[in-house]
Symmetry: C2
Subunit: 392 residues, 2 copies
């Protein structure tokens, strides 16, 4: 096990009706908040009204900034920063999924950052302060409700970069599984693929003797695989949603990756897809992950054998591990297909034209400073190019 | 799954040499700390000197209060409260195991509590403030390094009570597995039994559809069962200690019990043993747990069947679940025996004389307000009495 520093202070309020407590929970933090959200869905569902009522009951005033889109845009972040300064906002309440929360975090640090907030993403500059962020989660996937991470798309530059700081961890997140009942089927599927990938990126490792986190990763993955199809089939299945929601948090609050070398190649490769083609993050991951597995498994046969047996439940002769591994990758592909997810880049409308460009961007060759990606196997731009072609 | 409120803000610094950073880590919190510890073992091992050096390098002054014993005493707590007030202490640094940390928490709240701090334990009175506590863990078992819980023994009254508050959660805990290398074998065994019990108390539940936390509990239990004997056999096995230490934190930081009805009958029954006989907590739990299982399993056969198959790895006909469950309880007993733990109360020097008194104390019959204990099966004083007799 490697040395680590684990810190996950976000309080998670979980269960039925928890969103009605938001005003009371916010009171110690702020007199005025920015209500940040996407489109009309929270108004249609009645969530918007319940939040406003709770804020008013607690005597908390608010400004509003709707309009967050999937792959949240830098332009709206700039707008939010100005609004917060003008309105003397003390906390940002993000009501939505990962995109809304990521956008809220960008605004939160932008309020105190002198200079262009995009530099923080592009150049990894350190921040020292941010407005507090709280969330009411409506899509359980990104894990952003407990993490200090944010991903923003610079639509002008066609770049999508992430940034992380403990200053960005939400002070609390409200998670009522009932709020997930109305999600469109494709968002359910994308969310499950995204949560699984958050675990995969930590699970596949060359670090040895990591019994506990191996087991925790496997528990989260099996929970997602068991409950994803249930929620897809019966969107009102409270317990399935409860499992997915809680699993989404545990998948990405840092715990299951502690003391392990991590990977993150699939996320890096996917960010290139969504920066250029604006595809859903989860759908991109569902396409890339099995291809990545195929390309890298020979570098650590026993890790992938453990995945085959402990996660995918493959049985057979352990003396022929590759047979079991290939069966496991096939099962994973079938699972994604069952969830209605794409299996190839062409299904996402992505042709081969930009494979080389994307491979060079995500390994930073395109920017003159090569940085291989991945942990279990370091990938050059040529490796990435091969993986894109494997799943074309 | 039940509604829940999860909050585990303790930062865990884990790995080799982490204790040398303590001074730097304390700097944002305090200029003067109380160094609270047990006996001479931290001096013999050199840990004491490393901590003092780190404090001095960071310019942090300190007072000292050694002398914490297992089943930490109220009398020392009173002493610590006076000392903190006199010396204007701003933070308590607990260097030790659960007893030292629990004692530190009692002092931390006692400094601000008006009245007798024992009332908080005995009458469950609310506290509103406490000094911050930080820890350097030398025995991974109690889980006190991340929890807001504390257990104190009132030696005069022969009572041992617990109390919990989020004000008592340590701000950070340092965990270097190398510090565990010199633990006596019986403390290793007691610690493993205690950690397992922290999970058992949460795992055995009547709450349905708790896939994720079922899996997390099972992962922690299997990690403990796999690594306990390794650390016992080879006290210098860094990786085994790393697993046990990290598992001890996850076992008791709240996570694995979220959304589940919990039990805690074995802890309640054990507290009576150690209050009167001053036995090691883990040894008492190792004796009681298999007896408790025998007494309660019929109330939820499928929960115990899952334990048998998923945790103890029992195979056989699922159509005869009781056969598998009894085999699992036997295996658990064998495991404790392999760890050198006692199997009966008489091995702990406890006779039948006070069985009835203890049973009536832990169900509070003795104090005129009956309160059954347990979750998966509610236990009256007669049930508790039977369990004591089962393991006599």
């Amino acid at each position: 096990m490697l040395n680590f520093d684990f810190y996950s202070p976000a309080r998670i309020l979980f269960g039925r009706d928890t969103e009605t407590k938001v005003g009371k929970l916010l009171k110690p933090y702020a007199k005025k908040v920015l209500l940040h959200y996407g489109g009309g869905s929270i108004k249609k569902s009645g969530l918007y009204d319940r939040v406003i009522t709770s804020l008013k009951d607690a005597g908390i005033s608010y400004a509003e900034l709707p309009g967050v889109k999937p792959n949240p845009r830098l332009s709206l972040v700039y707008e939010g920063i100005e609004l917060c300064k003008k309105e003397n906002i003390e906390l940002i309440l993000a009501v939505g999924g990962g995109s809304v929360i990521d956008s809220a975090k960008a605004i939160a640090m932008g309020v105190y950052y002198e200079g262009d907030i995009w530099d923080v993403y592009e150049q990894g500059k350190a921040i020292h302060k941010a407005l507090p962020v709280a969330t009411i989660l409506t899509i359980p996937a990104a894990g952003s409700e407990s993490s200090g991470d944010t991903v923003i798309t610079n639509e002008g530059k066609q770049l999508k970069y992430g940034y992380g700081s403990s200053h960005l961890r939400p002070v609390f997140s409200i998670m009522n599984p009932e709020l997930f009942f109305t999600l469109p089927k494709n968002q359910v599927a994308n969310g499950v693929a995204d949560m699984m990938s958050h675990v995969f990126e930590r699970y596949f490792t060359n670090t040895k003797q990591t019994d506990l986190t191996d087991g925790l990763c496997e528990a989260v993955l099996k929970t997602l695989i068991r409950n994803g199809p249930k929620a897809l089939e019966n969107p009102q299945d409270y317990d399935a949603w409860a499992e997915l929601g809680f699993a989404g948090t545990v998948a990405h609050n840092g715990l299951v990756g502690m003391g392990r070398q991590q990977d993150w190649a699939c996320h890096a490769m996917e960010h290139e897809l969504s920066a250029i083609y604006d595809v859903a993050h989860g759908a991109g991951l569902a396409v890339l992950t099995p291809g990545w597995m195929q390309h890298v498994y020979k570098d650590n046969i026993n890790m992938f054998l453990q995945f085959a047996v402990n996660v995918m439940g493959v049985q057979g002769s352990l003396r022929e591990p590759e047979v079991l591994i290939i069966e496991a990758i096939d099962r994973l592909r079938s699972f994604y297909r069952k969830m209605g997810l794409p299996a190839t880049l062409s299904e996402l409308g992505i042709g081969e034209e930009k494979f080389e460009e994307m491979a060079k961007k995500c390994t930073r060759i395109a920017f003159g400073d090569e940085k291989k990606i991945g942990g279990i196997k370091e990938l050059s731009w040529q490796n990435v190019h091969k993986i894109y072609k494997l799943v074309k």
